[in-house]
């Protein structure tokens, strides 16, 4: 289990990264924290001809940045920085909560937030969080820059909307707004494992009640969302909400079987975790 050969590049600026991708495109891979890519290299499941190591970019922020609307993560903000960040705790509480479920402390010291999005694992927490919140990514190439909304970002398992010559320069999560509430729930076999099923819930005030976006992980080839329409807060706590969500889950989620869970079991989990998360998110928020 040793990486195959590749040509190693160590750009020091974002422009250089774009230039390298323009030249090597689909024969290349970006190396960020390496916590997903290096295992794939060791198993020889990935064999890029060119490896573009962005760890030595100069002047990159190691902390998330607070803007007017967004909290922005540059390509070298590690999980550990995010989980210790007051900005994240206050402004993106859903991400803050979800980070506890991502792998283990010794993985999070290296893994990056952007890398987690770019890796686009359908069982990963952070893409679901981005989806629940409606965040966006900044894609960059020598041709220029574009933003991609979270709904358009994830295309399939380990596949996203980036073109061969593009890389992710940043990820933006919207700042928490007045009255919003959030909750994250998942079930994994061991602590730190990818979940069999998980859900990121964002509750938003709407009229005199709240609506909830549930973004599921582990149940499809990309994060899967279920929208719970606006209703009074008390209705979420009512036993009938369980039945309603059960109906939505059965109508909208088509999870496939894997070795740890059948589709039927994942749906079972999706209902229960979804109910829990929705109730908690709503009770944390406040209708207008």
């Amino acid at each position: 289990m040793k990486p195959p050969r590749f040509e190693y590049h160590r750009p020091s600026s974002r422009d250089e990264v774009a230039a390298l991708l323009a030249q090597h495109g689909d024969e290349s891979k970006i190396l960020a924290g390496g916590q997903s890519l290096v295992p794939m290299l060791n198993f020889r499941l990935a064999h890029p001809d060119h490896l573009v190591d962005i760890n030595h970019l100069e002047g990159e922020a190691s902390e998330p940045e607070l803007g007017d609307r967004w909290v922005t993560f540059g390509p070298l903000v590690r999980h550990v920085a995010a989980e210790r960040s007051l900005v994240v705790e206050e402004e993106v509480p859903l991400l803050f909560e979800a980070l506890r479920f991502v792998a283990h402390p010794a993985i999070r010291t290296r893994g990056t937030i952007v890398g987690s999005i770019a890796h686009s694992d359908p069982a990963a927490e952070i893409p679901a969080v981005l989806t629940a919140l409606g965040g966006e990514i900044v894609a960059r190439s020598a041709r220029g820059e574009r933003t991609i909304h979270s709904d358009d970002c994830f295309v399939g398992p380990l596949i996203n909307a980036l073109k061969h010559d593009e890389w992710m320069e940043a990820v933006r999560f919207p700042r928490r707004a007045e009255g919003e509430g959030f909750a994250f729930e998942e079930f994994s076999r061991r602590s730190g494992d990818y979940a069999l099923c998980g859900v990121a819930a964002a509750a938003r005030p709407s009229g005199s009640g709240m609506n909830v976006t549930l973004a599921y992980l582990g149940v499809g080839v990309t994060p899967q969302t279920i929208e719970v329409s606006a209703r009074p807060v008390s209705e979420y706590q009512h036993p009938s909400f369980f039945g309603e969500l059960e109906g939505l889950v059965h109508a909208e989620l088509r999870p496939y079987d894997d070795i740890h869970a059948t589709g039927a079991y994942k749906r079972f989990l999706a209902v229960r975790l979804g109910v829990k998360a929705a109730r908690r998110a709503v009770s944390m928020g406040e209708p207008a």
């Binding site: 289990m1 050969r5 590749f6 040509e7 290096v38 295992p39 490896l51 010794a106 993985i107 730190g192």
Partner: protein, 177 residues
Amino acid sequence: MTGDKMRISLTVNGETREVDVEPRWLLSDVLRHELGLTGTHVGCEHGVCGCCTVLIDGGPARSCLALAVSVDGAEITTVESLAAEDGQLHPLQESFQKHHGLQCGFCTPGFLMTAMPFWENAEDMSDDELRKEISGQLCRCTGYSGILASIHGAAAVARERERSDSSRRIAEQDVDQ
């Protein structure tokens, strides 16, 4: 130029080491086979077992998931640095011996390095918190209870040591007078 080597510089256990490495070499292999620091062990090479955990710039990280070239310039701390020059064990190490926190010893360096950043606060952690903190480290021998007791008890070992050191100092002063 694919097989060509690059010169990198690592600060390993406080000492600057220049090494010529192939870009694909894992930090675990470079530490073990190029620098002779075989205390860092390799159990899975895909990030799950934690045997290879070292500190990279002060934070515990998998050396099997780091390309040595990529951590060029970093500060690496391995298990070899914990004991004093005269061989006296670090309180955390001593606590592992005291609480039978190891059997075959293969996973031990990884547990030690994982606990290094927080052992002084471990006695205030709940059992669940402590377990969570060392999740990500596999041990196939001990069933973990000795390891938990070791990390939990390390601060007490350190205190005990300070107490006996200071009483010895006092005794020495008494003799001097």
